[in-house]
């Protein structure tokens, strides 16, 4: 029997549409230039620069203590981890050994930051696929972490808690108690996340097999973080190049091999469990000691080039400093995870529907100030 053939005389016309910079799904001021044929996406071109603040140039002007404060404003959802990257780079350059207490506290707050970033992502992920309720569930749990941060260092989002040489001040006496409270609370709430979204058949239909990224492409595009790990590329900096107290804890690197949006989703959910486990291992064993080592009031790095990478909630953040021996860096470069993760958007969304683009973009988890810097 002859199969029916579609009459190709029917000509469809590709058209151009502007998604953003003001659009609910672009999470800030990202502008996507879409070429679509009906609902099917033919081309996605991200247009960057709407929130460019030339942070790298500003770094050349500032002292190393001041640079830490600028990094808050890059990936504002992992501000503490960004701060830590600069501090570690400066400390390594100065060959400064920070106290164990500092390392443990930094790692605990890192993981809290990661959980807070992932809960926000989870809420927004639900919202992008149309389940508005998840947003509030995510924010409920994130709020508890923000309260802990507020008590610890006075800020909720842009923390500035790290300084080269240690921490700005010691942790609040309530810190351990409140973190334990949060962990107990969060362990009961995380299964709720699965009930609300993960197991939902509509959600699975929306994400499974959508935005598939192969391991080779993940490496070729320089993807990192949950995006790369969803494709089976083991790239967790915490595992491969442990920093701070991460060499003292045992945790599994969340890896999935499917490479679709659902795999990236599962990686992040699993990472939240791993972060909980890391915090549980450390929270009872915060060593006594100083919360910082004294540094010179004006830090001058020896002449040379320094690189430090850390694992933020979005992937690998690299800090590259070229010093000529002065009090400012000669050149500073941040390798932000968001930019390289965004670069593969066109590759994995072409051929999908508009709904797929939104669902895929949610699992890439972009933070626009991190991309633009």
């Amino acid at each position: 029997m002859e199969t029916a053939t579609i009459n190709n005389n029917f000509k469809s016309e590709e058209y151009f549409i502007n998604m953003g910079p003001q659009h609910p799904a672009t999470h800030g001021v990202l502008r996507l230039l879409l070429t679509i044929d009906g609902e099917i996406i033919k081309k996605v071109e991200p247009d960057l620069g709407y929130i460019h603040r030339s942070i790298e140039k500003m770094c050349e002007r500032d002292s190393y203590q001041q640079i830490v404060h600028l990094t808050d404003r890059m990936d504002y959802l992992s501000s503490h981890i960004n701060n830590e990257a600069v501090c570690l780079a400066v400390e390594n350059a100065l060959e400064l050994e920070v106290p164990e207490r500092v390392k443990v506290i930094r790692t605990i707050i890192d993981e809290l930051t990661r959980i807070s970033s992932h809960t926000l992502w989870w809420g927004v992920m639900g919202m992008d696929v149309g389940a508005l309720t998840s947003y509030f569930y995510g924010f409920r749990d994130r709020e508890m972490i923000n309260d802990i941060f507020e008590e610890t260092c006075g800020a909720r989002l842009t923390m500035n808690y790290n300084i080269p040489g240690g921490l700005m001040q010691d942790i609040h006496p309530n810190f351990v108690k409140r973190v334990k409270e949060f962990i107990a609370h969060f362990k009961t709430k995380l299964p709720e996340y699965d009930k609300l979204l993960t197991g939902n058949i509509i959600f699975q239909k929306r994400t499974k097999g959508v935005g598939v990224l192969s391991k080779e492409d993940a490496i070729a595009y320089g993807a990192s973080g949950p995006v790369a790990r969803g494709s089976g590329y083991s790239c967790d900096v915490r595992k491969h190049h442990p920093y701070s107290a991460l060499d003292k804890v045992s945790f599994n690197e969340a890896l999935h091999t499917e490479g679709d949006s659902y795999a990236r989703y599962l990686v992040r959910i699993q990472e939240m469990w791993e972060s909980v486990s890391i915090i549980e291992q450390l929270i009872d064993n915060i060593p006594e000691g100083d919360f910082k080592v004294a540094t010179n009031a004006v830090i001058k790095l020896p002449k040379g080039e320094y690189y430090q990478k850390v694992e933020t909630a979005r992937g690998e953040l690299g800090v590259y400093i070229i010093s000529t021996g002065g009090k400012n860096p000669h050149r500073m470069k941040f390798r932000s995870p968001g930019l390289s993760n965004l670069s593969l958007l066109n590759h994995i969304t072409v051929g999908g529907k508009i709904g797929d683009l939104v669902a895929t973009m949610a699992t890439i988890d972009i933070v626009v100030p991190d991309i633009d810097r």
Binding site: M127, F136, L197, G355
Partner: protein
């Protein structure tokens, strides 16, 4: 004994005493129209408040609680705000169609509201093709959506409108066929007669298995008909901004908004009338007090409205191709099979009747 018929008869004789008999007809029609407009507005305001409260309870929030007790006047305040808003429009929009579009929606939902038996004898028109009329009228609304999206001169609105067209036309079939399944039981399209039949058991009980299947299909496709989540392709705020009403502001936007909520009530009201006995009380417990019919009708309708809100605040949105797959590959074949099943059950007299 107290029946709504007494009130209507009294009003009729009062109107007759005031004016010549020739104009009483028109006067009474105007009175009924005014009553329905009021009911329409109040219902819309209440449904918006209900949606916001239900959403808040689902989302660990309190919801509106500032304006009036329990936030009662929040939607009135919102409506006043929308009234005072400037009506903006896009350049190069098709002005005539652009301004016409909201009225299609609002008129279709107002007309559909007119045929419901809110209680015994409390019905504006008891036409003998009631269900048919409802299905026909409720599909006029999509013209408004299509026109609105088309004439806005906005690509997002256009995508929303096209999605709406494809969605509503598809799900229209399921709504019609699932109601047709129930018509096999009643043998009449007239709404008052459909309720009369249910005095010996609600249709969902009378028709048991096929009726339950029909009800599920009806609720799914009814939700899709009203363009609400998980079928809110038309608006899909994370994809299309605000979809077909992106370019509407002020009261024109409010018309779309109000019509969406009234349509939700209409779907729930049809469901109540056809599946759950309309104004009949469960097990006839208040049969001696007919005016409680309004209470039972609204109670059942709002229970179904709550069900639809529950859908909205828990489910993610389907993708547009999945939406059509669901309708054409699953709901429609099941529906056709279900009609045959119901026909067999009616033919063999396997219905449950008290």
């Amino acid at each position: 004994m107290y029946s709504s018929l007494i009130i209507t008869n009294n009003i009729h004789s009062w109107v007759l005493s005031l004016m010549p008999a020739a104009v009483t007809g028109i006067t009474e029609m105007m009175m009924i129209a005014m009553i329905y407009l009021t009911v329409f507005a109040v219902l819309g305001l209440f449904l918006v408040l209900m949606e916001r409260k239900v959403a808040a309870w689902f989302q660990l929030r309190i919801g509106p609680n500032r304006v009036g007790f329990f936030g009662m006047f929040q939607t009135i305040a919102d409506a006043l705000k929308l009234l005072s808003k400037e009506l903006t429009g896009t350049d190069k929009a098709d002005k005539f169609l652009y301004n016409l579009a909201p009225y299609f929606l609002i008129i279709s939902s107002l007309m559909a509201l007119a045929v419901f038996p809110f209680s015994e004898n409390l019905q504006a028109f008891d036409i003998n093709i009631g269900i048919f009329f409802l299905i026909a009228i409720s599909s006029i609304g999509v013209i408004g959506v299509l026109l609105g999206g088309w004439s806005s001169n906005n690509k997002f609105a256009l995508i929303g409108a096209m999605r709406s067209g494809v969605q509503t036309i598809s799900y229209e079939l399921s709504v019609g066929l699932s109601l047709l399944t129930m018509i096999l039981l009643t043998g009449s399209l007239q709404l008052s007669e459909i309720i009369e039949v249910q005095k010996s058991g609600w249709l969902i009980v009378q028709g048991h298995i096929p009726a339950v299947i029909a009800f599920m299909i009806y609720m799914i496709s009814g939700t899709a008909e009203t363009n609400r989540a998980p079928f809110d392709m038309v608006e899909a705020e994370s994809e299309l901004g605000a979809g077909f009403h992106t370019e509407y502001s002020g009261m024109k936007f409010a018309y779309f908004f109000l019509a969406e909520f009234i349509n939700m009530f209409i779907i729930a009201a049809i469901g109540t009338t056809v599946f759950f006995g309309g104004w009949l009380s469960p097990f006839g417990i208040t049969e001696s007090i007919p005016w409680l019919g309004v209470f039972w009708f609204l109670l059942k309708a709002f229970a179904l409205v709550f069900l639809m809100m529950w859908f909205r605040w828990t489910f993610p949105r389907l993708r547009v191709d999945q939406l059509l797959t669901l309708e054409w590959k699953y709901l429609l074949p099941i529906n056709l099979f279900n009609i045959v099943l119901m026909a067999i059950i009616v033919w063999l007299n396997f219905t449950i009747q008290f």
